[in-house]
Structures are given as C-alpha cells and as structure tokens.
C-alpha cells in the first residue's frame, strides 16, 4: 500500500470508489468533499434526517399555534376589568374576578387528576409486573389484551357507566368511609347520597388511564436486561427481591413517563367528569361531599353552548390555564427522570 502518500484514513468517505493498490490514490482532505464541517450523508440517511427534523419542527409549530390561538382568544377576558367581566358573563356571577373564577377550576382539575393517578399507578404497576414477571405466558398475553381493550372504551361510555352504575354502587362504601374515617379531613362533610362526587370521578378516571400506564410500564419492565436479573437471582434474591433490585429501578423513568401520560389524559378528560360530578366552585378537599369541585375541561363543555363572546373568551382563558398545567406536568416529569440519570442504567 502507498500508505505514505495517502494521508486520508479509511472510512472518511464510505461511499467512495474502492482504491486499487497500484494506482496513486487522489489526495483527500479529512473534510467531506461537499461542505466543510459536515459529515457526508447519502440517500436514505439524508432523507431520514430531514424527515425527522421536519417532524420535530412540525410538532413545535403546532404547539406554538395552539398557544397563540389560546392567548389571542383569551385576550379580551385577560384584559377586561373584573367588574366588566362579572356583569357581562352570566356564569361568572358568583365570582369577583377572572382569577377567582379560574382558581377553583384549576384546583378541581388537579385534584381529580391526582386522585386518579394515586389510585391508578399502584394498580397499573402491579398488573404490569404480574404480566411481565409472574404470569405464565398464555395468561400474560390474554391479560395484556384485556387491559388494552379498556383503552378502547369511549369516554362517554365511561361517563354513563360511572353515573348510572358505579356511583350508586360505591355510595354505601363512601357512607361507610365518611362514618368511620370522617375525622380525616378528606372524608369529612356530608356524604353525598348519590355518590356523584369527586372520589367517584377519580375512580373512573383511574380506570380510564389504567391501560396506558399499564401498557407502557409492562413494556419497560420487559426490557430489563436479563443480565441484571440473573445477577440478582444468582445472589440469592427471591423473585420479588429481584424485581426490587433490578426491574423497578430500571423501569423507574419509564413508569414516571407512563404516569405523566396518564395524568395528561386525566387532566383533560371531559365527558366522564361532566356526566358524573355534581359540580361546585370551591377550594375543597372534601372527596365525598356533593357540589364541591369542578374541572376545567368539564366546565368548558358545560358552559360552551350558551356562552356570549366575552364568556367564550373566559372559557378559553381557563383552557389556557389547562394548557399551562399540562406543560408544567410534563416538564417536571422530565426533571424527575433526569435527576438520577447516572444511576438510570441507560449508560
């Protein structure tokens, strides 16, 4: 080889013609032939890069467009004086200002979603672990299929079921909770005789977000490297200890992401809340009493048909609040996932 005359190491231009040993190879610089500082890309690679970049940009554009729409449409309500709002918007007559109207809605939205999450996450993790690590294969795939089917049920159906079946069904349980655990502030107050309270909403929302959290967690748990599971077993770990040492730490960030996906859905859920909850506009932690809370999405759906122009703007302002909450939730989820990156097993 004429190595001394050819400073270009192999591999700088994989697509180039093969050099024959006898002929004098042309001098090449380490830089690509076309543009300085750019690695040479060809065909599929370049197409893929632009598609990926384009898709990423499109998401940003859509997101920005939604944000701009919300801000522009909410502007009249945001800039109007409180007196003007209270006078012109019929459904604000019990509120003194926009903040006074939005606040309890934000509170109710977050409360319902958090209740759903608290109820759904442990169950989802348990089902996911059962499917990934305990159940025999046939049972596992059957069960996974059933859980996925839950996601296919339309939310109106959940609403009907929640209001007509679940609420009367759980009412005695709520009464019992109220009478025995009533000293805990959450279960205080007069227990609603209909069962159409925020805790029932939480249960229905939990059922609705269960499939997505279970499905994502299951996939994450199944991806635990066999290598580490065997390391734990060889140290004398029982199956549960093995899960605690490897599967759960490995799956942690995935489960957090799954929970956030679920939370996102619970925050925005409209129909089920609208049909089940007996609404109120209070900052109230009473989970079993009627007429305490309302969520943003359900409230928009309820007021939308009869809203005036200014009323519409107020509703969109509440929608803007929901948008911001969802963004904050997603960003804090990312922060949680990133915090212990060194120990995540990803490196």
């Amino acid at each position: 080889m004429t190595a001394t005359t050819s400073p270009a190491p192999a591999g700088t231009d994989p697509g180039g013609p093969p050099e024959s040993a006898g002929s004098r190879p042309p001098r090449r610089s380490l830089r690509g032939p076309r543009r300085a500082g750019r690695p040479v890309e060809r065909g599929a690679s370049r197409v893929f890069r632009w598609t990926a970049t384009g898709a990423g940009a499109l998401i940003l554009v859509v997101l920005a467009a939604v944000a701009v729409f919300l801000v522009v449409k909410a502007m009249p309500a945001l800039t109007a004086s409180s007196g003007e709002l209270v006078d012109s918007v019929s459904f604000m007559r019990n509120s003194s200002s926009l903040a006074d109207y939005v606040g309890p809605l934000v509170f109710g939205t977050v409360l319902a979603a958090v209740l759903a999450l608290v109820l759904a996450v442990p169950v989802a993790i348990a089902i996911a672990l059962f499917i990934s690590h305990y159940a025999p294969r046939r049972l596992a795939s059957g069960l996974g299929y059933v859980v996925d089917l839950l996601a296919a049920v339309p939310s109106v159906v959940y609403g009907l079921w929640g209001a007509m079946v679940l609420a009367p069904l759980v009412q005695p349980l709520w009464s019992w909770l109220g009478s025995t655990l009533g000293w805990i502030p959450l279960f205080g107050g007069t227990v609603s005789p209909t069962g159409r309270v925020i805790l029932t909403v939480g249960v229905v929302l939990a059922v609705m977000i269960l499939p997505i959290i279970t499905a994502v967690s299951r996939e994450v748990f199944l991806q635990t490297p066999r290598l580490y599971e065997e390391a734990a077993l060889a140290l004398g770990a029982t199956r549960w200890e093995m899960i605690r040492m490897t599967v759960l730490p490995f799956g942690r960030s995935g489960v957090v992401s799954a929970a956030m996906l679920g939370l996102g859905r619970a925050l925005g859920e409209t129909m089920a809340v609208l049909m089940i909850l007996s609404q109120g506009f209070l900052y109230s932690f009473l989970l079993l009493a009627a007429g305490q809370q309302q969520t943003i999405a359900a409230n928009i759906a309820a007021q939308f048909p009869e809203a005036s122009d200014m009323g519409m703007s107020v509703l969109i302002a509440t929608g803007l609040a929901l948008f911001v909450i969802t963004l904050v939730v997603n960003m804090s989820a990312r922060a949680i996932v990133a915090r212990r990156k060194d120990f995540s097993g990803a490196n």
Partner: protein, 259 residues
Amino acid sequence: MAQRIDVKDLNIYYGDFRAVADVEMSVEPRSVTAFIGPSGCGKSTFLRTLNRMHEVIPGARVEGRVEIDGVDLYAPDVDPVAVRRQIGMVFQRPNPFPTMSIADNVLAGVRLNNRRISKGDAQDLVEQSLRGANLWNEVKDRLDRPGSGLSGGQQQRLCIARAIAVKPQVLLMDEPCSALDPISTLAIEDLISELKADYTIVIVTHNMQQAARVSDRTAFFNLAGQGQPGKLVEVDDTSVIFSAPREQATEDYISGRFG
C-alpha cells in the same frame, strides 16, 4: 467454609433438548477446577446447574444429583434461593447493577441475607470485599458513584467482590476474563489463586493457558456432533490433562488440532 461438590449421573435439558448428558465428577474443597471444551458443548449449562441457576430459564430442567458436602441440591425440600446464597456466581459479561453505587453493589447480596447491617459493619465489609477483589485502591474515593462508571475489568472485579461479600461456600465463574484485557485478566487470575485458600472455585475458560495457570484440576467437555448432548470426556489433574491426557480427543483439543 469451602465445600466439596459431587455430581452424579447428571442430565440437563432445555425443554426436550438434552444439552448435557451423564456427567459424573467431583470437585475438592479449596481447589480450582477449570472447564474447557468447544463452544456449545454445555460448559455454561453445566456450571449453572451447580447453583440452580439453570432452572430460571423457562422449560429448563435437570435430572440427577448435585451434592454439596453430601446434601443433594435438587432434593425436593431444598430452596433454590438458599442454594444461590451459598454458591456465588460470576458471569461472562460484567453485570454490576447500574442503578446502585459501587458500595451498594458490594452489599447487594449481604442486604438480601441480613437487612439490618450496621453502618460500620457495612463499611468494613465493603472495604474487605473490595480488597479481596483487588479493587479497593482504584475505587476507594468513589464508592458512592454508580458501578457502571468503571472499566470492564474493574466492573468484573466488582462482581467478584459482590460475590465474595456474602462469603459463599463455592464460587462459580463463567469465562470471567473473556471481555477483559491481558492486565485485568492477570489481576483476576492472581485473585483466583488467592481466593482458592478460602473457596472452592469452578471456572469456565476458553483460554488453555489460563486453565493451565490457575487450575488444579481440568475437566474437558466435548460434543459428539450437531444436536447431540455435550459430554464430560475426562477430568484429571491439570498437569496430567495438559501433558498426558488419557483420551485422544482431549489431546487434539488442547493442542489445537480440534475440529
């Protein structure tokens, strides 16, 4: 602490496939036994039956007896978890838990046995085990960093530290040096020679020189053909196997005339 192993008439299956047939051998306490043989002859499979790790693979099963100091590991009343706590294992690919710090890795097995270990005892044990694995000086300043931040050779020694921290009766090693450079390999071979004083060690290796250097006894496994079960051809003192083996197949294999 070290105990002897007696294997009697052992057949090992993956589902219907018999991977290893009719193994009959003994391992003396405080000795190093090397398993050699061509790829696919069942060395790893056999090694994993010695601490009941074979059965974690779906469909895998074992017939025959493996006795540790006279107790059959496969007797119905024996708990595989208890067996694995007494028989440590080091894998071919280093596998320290990446979600744990170096110190927690060393203590992982100990915490399983005995949750309430005092802080001082834990520190002592970490130091003692890491010294035992010739790793202490390299990591003593970063015990709280993740184990995955170490080099491959360091990770493997961390795995050895983790295995010896529980003071097992027997230590099984499946090609512990195959992913390592010559210097790390020598460090681990030295370590094996030291550990021999306290443990019964069984090591699988593809490296003839390594088998000759570290082991007292050598077992040669072979495969009659595709789809046939692997068999133990002969087991003898390492010096005998490498100078005057009884079987022609052994001589062919170690002199590189295999195949």
